[in-house]
Structures are given as structure tokens and as C-alpha cells.
């Protein structure tokens, strides 16, 4: 209580210092949450792509953005390769062709025959509501939504929803995965093939039957074959395709993430250095103002250690308060930002308990460290000189 009276005595300066730290910690929280989200996406993507080879038509602008049509025969060819354990033909479509692209992971519609991976898929998904797709769903119009997409569309199991002008029944909603499946709607392959066919130009539609249409193949390497060996086999056996292995995904995305993280850390460090200097300034002013008081305390038996402790704790409390406010503001931005972004599928932030605890602990320690120098010089004052100070 005494301590708070000390702080309240210099309302303006204390408030400004706390504000400075608040802004620093706010920036730290917001940027860290952004980094958390991106890292989770990358991490999730890395897991998602691990242990398989994604095969798309070479005419696509990027591997993995497979929306150019391929013939389902490609999947059969790949399945027949010695290095392949299974090859799953899939149709991937943009969920809403009229909508804008989302952040990180775009909303997609993914059609494949449930269970056609023959147990080789290592990325596990489970339903938080309803059920997953089954092979028996082929031929029917059912859909399982990823968690973010379900929230955005506001759907629950049992609802009907129009996707690309066709009506689907929602049979399940997935657990959040923090990566691609969250923004994906899973439908039976046959339904996806029909939707894809409908999106093609008329001459193409006539040339190819919907049940031959796919946009990508996910190939799983056989025991003893590496992903890259399988990718080489596929590129040798099938003309005009691109392959993406888990390792290539990590390489592509990893360097971009590292740069982004460096920027984030840079911004946070700058804001915290400013906050730290501000605490040093406040404490130095506060010590100068209290010279006489420190003299009194030394005279009546306050040891140097005790004086230092009092001032360092005071600075620590300034840091703690700033940290808590910064965390609160940061959390507010994260929640509001995600809430606002949900409708467009843009989930920017992920505030983890670790980040929250780190931010508050960091600002407290920052305050204390910044308080040490003025506290030290205060404790070195000659008590008699200090007592004469007006």
C-alpha cells in the first residue's frame, strides 16, 4: 500500500512511464500472437505435408495451388509405381470463387474418397461435432467443415448449406488443427468432381467426364522409399506434373517465416528498449526528488541494500502494471482482430498462455533492471548531504 502511495505521489510521471511500457508490451503481445499464428500455420503445414508427395498439374502457378484439371489415370499410374504405397486422387477447389483470399491458408473445398489413403495419412483429424466422411458418402451431398470455416459460415451438424450453387448437408465439424483443415470443407470425391466439372469451360466439360476429373494426387511412399525418391519416380513416370514433398514445403516456407520472426522480434525489442529507458528516467527523477527522504532512511538505519530493494521493487511494480495493461490491450486487439477477421476467414492472431506470461514477466524484470542503476546511485548518497538537500 505504501508502495502505491509512492507511485501515486508522482501520478503524471508514473502514468506516462506505465503508458510507455504498456505500448511496448502491447506491441510485443500483438506481434508475438501474430508470430504464434504464423508459426502454428507453418508447423501445422509442415506436419500436414510430412510423409507424402503432393502431385499437381505443371500448369498451376504454384505447387499445392492445384486447381488445374488432371485425369484420374494419373493417380492409378502413381499407385502402380514401386515406391508408392498409396495414391489418393483429390479435387481441390476454391471454396467460394466470389470471395477474397484469406490470410495464410485460403478456404478450400477438398474432395476425396474417405479411407483411400489406406491408413497412410499421418495427419490426424477428428470431429468435434458429428462425424467424419466415410466411403459410403460417395454419391451423396454431405460436407464436413473445418473449425474456422464452420464458424465463419455459422453452420452446425444437420444444417444445409449451398456450396457453389449445390446444396450440401453438414454432417460434421472438425477439431481445430491451426492449419489447412481449419479452412477446408471436406466433401465426397464424386461431389467435388461434379462441382469441378461445372466450373470448367464448356468445351472442356464435353471432352472429359466428371468422374475422370481430379486436381491433385497425394502419394504416400512405400516402406523403405523416401519422399524425394518417390517424387523422382513420379516425375519420371508422369508427364507434365509438379511434386511437392514435406521437406520442400519446409524449405519454401521456413525462410519466409524466419524473416518475419526477425522483424517481429526487432519491433518488440525496440519498443521494449524505449520502455526500459523510460523506467530508468522515471526512477532517476524519482530518486533525485527523494534525495532527502533517502537520507532520512539511511540515517535512521536503512541499509544500502534495503534502499536499493525498495526502489527496485517500485520499478518492478511499474513494469508489472505496464505489462498487465499491455497484455490486456494486446489481448483485446487479438480478440477483436480475430473476431473482425473471422467473417473473411482471416484469423491473424494466436495468443498463447506462454506469450502472456512471458510478456508480463519480461516487463516486470525490465522495470527492475531499469530501476537498479538509479537505486544504486541513491544508496551511495552521503546521508548528511542527502538530508541537507532541498
Amino acid at each position: 500500500m505504501r508502495l502505491f502511495r509512492e507511485l501515486a505521489r508522482r501520478k503524471l510521471r508514473t502514468t506516462l512511464t506505465i503508458l510507455g511500457i504498456t505500448i511496448g508490451i502491447w506491441a510485443l503481445v500483438v506481434f508475438s500472437s501474430m508470430a504464434n499464428k504464423i508459426n502454428a500455420l507453418v508447423e501445422g503445414g509442415s506436419q500436414y505435408f510430412a510423409g507424402k508427395v503432393l502431385v499437381t498439374d505443371a500448369s498451376n502457378i504454384a505447387v499445392g495451388a492445384g486447381i488445374a484439371p488432371m485425369n484420374i489415370e494419373v493417380a492409378e499410374t502413381i499407385a502402380g509405381l514401386p515406391g508408392a504405397a498409396a495414391a489418393v486422387p483429390q479435387v481441390q477447389l476454391i471454396y467460394d470463387p466470389e470471395g477474397g483470399g484469406g490470410f495464410g491458408v485460403s478456404e478450400t473445398l477438398l474432395g476425396s474418397v474417405a479411407g483411400s489413403d489406406e491408413g497412410h495419412e499421418s495427419f490426424e483429424i477428428s470431429a468435434v461435432q458429428g462425424r467424419l466422411l466415410t466411403p459410403e458418402d460417395e454419391g451423396s451431398r454431405v460436407v464436413v467443415f473445418g473449425s474456422d470455416l464452420a464458424t465463419k459460415e455459422g453452420v452446425a451438424v444437420g444444417d444445409s448449406i449451398d456450396i457453389r450453387d449445390e446444396t450440401f448437408e453438414v454432417v460434421g465439424v472438425l477439431e481445430p488443427t491451426l492449419t489447412a483443415p481449419d479452412a477446408t470443407a471436406l466433401i465426397p470425391l464424386s461431389a467435388a468432381q461434379e462441382l469441378m466439372a461445372a466450373s470448367l469451360p464448356a468445351p472442356v466439360q464435353e471432352a472429359i467426364s466428371p468422374d475422370e476429373l481430379i486436381s491433385q494426387v497425394v502419394a504416400y511412399p512405400a516402406e523403405g522409399t523416401s519422399e524425394s525418391e518417390l517424387a523422382t519416380q513420379i516425375e519420371d513416370a508422369v508427364d507434365n506434373v509438379n511434386t511437392l514433398t514435406g521437406a520442400e514445403f519446409d524449405e519454401q516456407v521456413g525462410s519466409a517465416t524466419a524473416i518475419f520472426n526477425a522483424i517481429i522480434i526487432g519491433v518488440a525489442v525496440i519498443s521494449l528498449v524505449v520502455g526500459g529507458l523510460s523506467v530508468i528516467n522515471t526512477m532517476a527523477m524519482s530518486v533525485a526528488e527523494r534525495t532527502r527522504e533517502i537520507g532520512i532512511k539511511r540515517a535512521i538505519g536503512g541499509t544500502r541494500g534495503r534502499i536499493i530493494r525498495e526502489l527496485v521493487i517500485e520499478a518492478g511494480v511499474i513494469g508489472l502494471i505496464g505489462g498487465l495493461f499491455g497484455l490486456a490491450l494486446g489481448a483485446l486487439v487479438v480478440v477483436l482482430g480475430n473476431e473482425a477477421g473471422r467473417s473473411s476467414g482471416t484469423i491473424l492472431f494466436e495468443l498463447t498462455p506462454g506469450t502472456a506470461v512471458f510478456a508480463v514477466a519480461f516487463s516486470t524484470i525490465l522495470g527492475m533492471v531499469a530501476g537498479i542503476i538509479p537505486a544504486w546511485s541513491a544508496a551511495r548518497l552521503d546521508p548528511v548531504q542527502a538530508l541537507r538537500y532541498e
Binding site: R2, R5, E6, R9, R292, E293, G295, I296, K297, R298, A299, I300, G301, G302, T303, R304, G305, R306, D382, P383, V384, L387
Partner: protein, 242 residues
């Protein structure tokens, strides 16, 4: 006639020179010898610049005497040679053995009367709760128990000095050092504080050393030490300590 009680404080060869600039230095003390018996009430008197305050600061372990320029200084308080003590040990000794009263009260403005007094207890190593109840008792001794929740700004000068007195007394120190304790008070308040000091000296046997300009204050003491030009000019016994 002079000192009959056992010695509490023994000082020899106390010198202090303050260097104000390269050329300008002030010899504040030029070799003071002093013995103070346990339970004595002593006034240190003398004109401005005679070295009274410097002597108080050295006796109160706030400054150290000069080591150079003459025979080695000695200062024993309560049987302890303080010359060799570390800053920490000197601070501890201030907290445990001494109580200070200043001319300008020197209370911590943000703390209440009770907290100001309790702080001295805490510095002496008493637990917070105990320090508070001891502080309440000490405020009772100076008749300010009902003002314990007030801050210095809300108290009169006389009241502030009584709070300072309670702070000096709370650890029941053997030595009370008072630097012009009545200097800022009118004669009625002055008398009040002086009577309290006298009472604690008599009832508790606390040794009291006070610096003053005021001859009336000096006359209430057992002995007056007259200082001039950094030396103890003479010691004038007014009454013997029993």
C-alpha cells in the same frame, strides 16, 4: 563531579576537514576528545561553524573522522570501536543503538505518522506487525496515539517533531542524538518537546546528546559542552547525573 556513570561514548582525536574546492577547505573539527556517561543529558553549544553539527554526524556514524593529519581517531560507542565497522555494520548500529531527532523533523512525507515510526523498527529488523504495534506504543509516549493515521503534512510542527521523537525512541536506543530539536518550534512547543526529552532521559536512562543554540535548552541539560573553532572549549557541569 563530571562523569560518574559508566561511559557510553568515548571519543579521541576527532578531526574532520571538508574540502569544498581545491583551495578552499574547512577544518570543521580539529581534534575533539569527549566522554559521555550512560544516562547523561548533554548539550553541545557554540557559535555557527564551531563544529557542533560535524561532531553530531560523527557521533551518529553518518560521517567518519579523518584518519590523516594527526593522531589516530578513536570512537567507542557502547563498548564497540566503530572505526573498523563496514557501512552495513554502522547502519545496523544506527538502527539498533541510536535515535535521531532533526531540526526539520525529517519525516517521510508519503507515510503516515504510524508508518514513519514503524519504519525505524523495520530497519532494526523487527517484523512488520510488531513494528507497527511498537510504533503505536511510541506514539502513545509522545501523546500522539490518536494522530497515528495522519501524514506529516496534516500535522503541526510540534506534532511532527513529536512523531520524529517517537521514531527515535521506538527501538529504545541507548543514545538519542538531537540536532536543534526545538529550532523550528515556538517557545511553548519547544518546551513541550524538551520536557519529553528530559522525561525519557530520566525515566529510561537514555543518554541524550543535543545540539542547540538556545541557552534555555542548554540549561535543562546535565552538562554543556562549549565548542569553538572545531575544538571542545570547555565542559560545564550543571548538575550531576544520579
Amino acid at each position: 563531579m563530571s562523569v560518574t556513570a559508566p561511559t557510553l561514548l568515548e571519543a579521541r582525536n576527532l578531526r574532520k576537514t571538508y574540502r569544498l574546492s581545491r583551495r578552499n577547505q574547512v577544518e570543521a573539527l580539529r581534534g575533539v576528545d569527549l566522554d559521555i556517561g550512560s544516562g547523561e543529558m548533554i548539550a553541545i553549544m557554540g557559535p555557527s561553524g564551531s563544529g557542533k553539527s560535524t561532531l553530531m554526524h560523527i557521533l551518529g556514524l553518518l560521517h567518519s573522522p579523518d584518519q590523516n593529519g594527526g593522531p589516530s581517531p578513536e570512537l567507542r560507542i557502547a563498548g564497540v570501536e566503530v572505526g573498523g565497522l563496514s557501512d552495513r555494520q554502522r547502519t545496523k548500529m544506527r538502527a539498533d543503538t541510536m535515535g535521531f531527532v532533526f531540526q526539520s523533523y525529517n519525516l517521510v512525507p508519503t507515510l503516515t505518522a504510524l508508518e514513519n515510526v514503524a519504519l525505524a523498527g523495520e530497519y532494526a529488523g523487527v517484523a512488520r506487525g510488531e513494528a507497527r504495534s511498537a510504533a503505536m506504543d511510541a506514539l502513545g509516549w509522545v501523546g500522539l496515539a490518536e494522530r497515528s493515521g495522519h501524514r506529516p503534512m496534516e500535522l503541526s510542527g510540534g506534532e511532527q517533531q513529536r512523531v520524529a521523537l517517537a521514531r527515535a525512541l521506538v527501538n529504545e536506543p541507548r543514545l538519542l542524538l538531537a540536532d536543534e530539536p526545538t529550532g523550528n518550534l515556538d517557545s511553548a512547543r519547544s518546551k513541550e518537546v524538551l520536557e519529553m526529552l528530559r522525561r525519557f532521559n530520566k525515566e529510561r536512562g537514555q543518554t541524550l546528546v543535543l545540539v542547540t543554540h538556545d541557552p534555555e535548552v542548554g540549561e535543562t541539560c546535565d552538562r554543556i559542552i562549549h565548542m569553538r573553532d572545531g575544538l571542545c572549549e570547555r565542559s560545564e557541569a550543571l548538575r550531576s547525573t544520579s
